[in-house]
């Protein structure tokens, strides 16, 4: 049990927590939070993999990719929130509308 596997395992747990919440929560803002937690889990696995060298300094390539990833997940959050506000404005809902015809979902 070393540092790398500890962090990588926690990243997986964070991703799973986020995915679970994304599936079962209905409020759109909650879904956005859940997707952000999923992203953090992926970043954690990635950085932990980059930190497996003996030098104690993480590999710059995963670091740079995670930096890009953080900005992209910010873009996702911004657009998703504006879309959620728009959905709320058009339908009065803060959850995704369910089609009443299809009883499957």
């Amino acid at each position: 049990m070393n540092t790398v596997s500890l962090y990588a395992g926690s990243g997986i747990i964070l991703f799973s927590l986020g995915l679970h919440a994304l599936l079962i929560r209905r409020h759109l803002l909650r879904k956005i939070l859940a997707a952000n937690i999923m992203g953090s889990g992926v970043f954690m696995v990635f950085i932990a993999m980059g930190a497996r060298g003996e030098s104690g300094v993480a590999d710059p390539v995963p670091q740079a990719m995670v930096l890009t990833g953080i900005v992209v997940s910010l873009c996702f959050t911004a657009v998703a929130i504006v879309l959620a506000v728009r959905i709320n404005k058009l339908t009065g809902c803060t959850t995704l509308a369910v089609d009443e015809e299809s009883s499957i979902d």
Binding site: S5, S10, L67, V85, T94
Partner: protein, 327 residues
């Protein structure tokens, strides 16, 4: 057990606990505040993993700007689940599907991947050595900056494009509305802003400049500057009407535009996009970082405000009345 490992264990347990709490919380405001705390602790985890660049970005962008975005969104959406559509109750199998997927499939797939990577760890040392060997010709003294703006500059170019595209999407969906009422501004906040704003600008400049040698760079600096812009907006400053047209759009697009022009110029010069001539690499990276910082700051602040600037003067309610030139 080493003390450092105990620290890691405690930190990770707190992180997982916070994630669980914020996702299960019934009060969405509490969830957002917990999310900001989660982001700050995550920055600590990045430091522990030897990634201070990511830690800076996480604290500034992941916790700060995302937190501001979520709070603004929460203010517009409200915390309750409102819906006029009725929902049929789920069957037992449907209820079971989410826990099975998340509890069994994701961990087992991840475990297999991790074991594979673990076997790989013995054979390949990662890219650290390769990057150090070529650092001299990259035009930057810091590995992460060299990767971001030279070795893998394509990623950064496209990411700037994504940021611009996100703002175009936001602007096409909505018109900007004021974040607060003008009379709500407290004099204390006003005084604090006067003290903090010059400091934010100086620190942002420092973070940008030291990105050449140490952790820091355009993203972190841009996020700091955008926090300054948001603070200025919160105490009632706003962009004068005459600058909300073409000049604002130019500022938003210049980071991506200059980067793209440099990509085109290097394509003509050396046959490959973003393969800088060796003696110019340092100056080109500095130029890209400077314009990128200005653009990122404006883009992030505009994303938090949300929506395009009001089109005409006939809707004065859409913008705060006092217009001072601070931006």
């Amino acid at each position: 057990m080493e003390p450092a490992l105990i620290f890691d264990l405690v930190l990770l347990l707190i992180l997982i606990g916070l994630a669980w709490l914020l996702l299960a919380s019934t009060d969405l405001f509490r969830a957002v505040v917990l999310f900001i705390a989660f982001g700050l602790l995550l920055a600590l985890a990045w430091v522990r993993l030897g990634a201070p660049d990511v830690a800076l970005a996480e604290a500034a962008i992941g916790a700060g700007i995302t937190g501001a975005l979520l709070l603004v969104g929460l203010g517009r959406l409200g915390s309750t689940e409102r819906c006029r559509f009725s929902r049929a109750p789920l069957t037992f199998l449907q209820r079971l599907s989410a826990p099975v997927l998340v509890g069994v499939m994701i961990p087992s797939i991840s475990l297999i991947l991790l074991l594979e990577v673990h076997q790989l760890a013995g054979t390949t040392p990662g890219r650290q050595g390769l990057i150090n060997a070529f650092l001299d010709v990259s035009g930057s003294g810091h590995g992460v900056t060299a990767v971001l703006l030279n070795f893998r500059a394509w990623d950064t170019l496209l990411e700037k494009g994504v940021l611009l595209l996100a703002l175009i999407t936001i602007w096409s969906l909505d018109q900007a509305r004021p974040l607060f009422h003008q009379e709500d501004i407290s004099p204390q906040l006003m005084g604090l802003a006067r003290l903090l704003l010059p400091l934010v600008i100086v620190v942002a400049g420092f973070v940008l400049w030291q990105g050449d040698q140490a952790p820091g760079g355009a993203f972190q600096s841009g996020a700091l500057l955008s926090a300054g812009i948001l603070l200025a907006i919160l105490v009632g400053y706003s962009l004068p009407q005459r600058w909300q047209g073409l000049s604002l759009r130019l500022l938003l697009a210049i980071g991506f535009g200059v980067f793209l022009l440099i990509a085109a110029a290097t394509l003509l010069y050396s046959g490959y996009p973003l393969q800088y001539p060796e003696h110019l690499a340092g100056s080109l990276i500095l130029l890209i970082e400077l314009v990128a910082t200005a653009s990122i700051a404006a883009l992030l602040a505009a994303a938090v405000v949300g929506g395009h600037p009001p089109d005409d003067l006939s809707t004065p309610a859409a913008k705060a009345p006092s217009t001072s030139g601070r931006r």
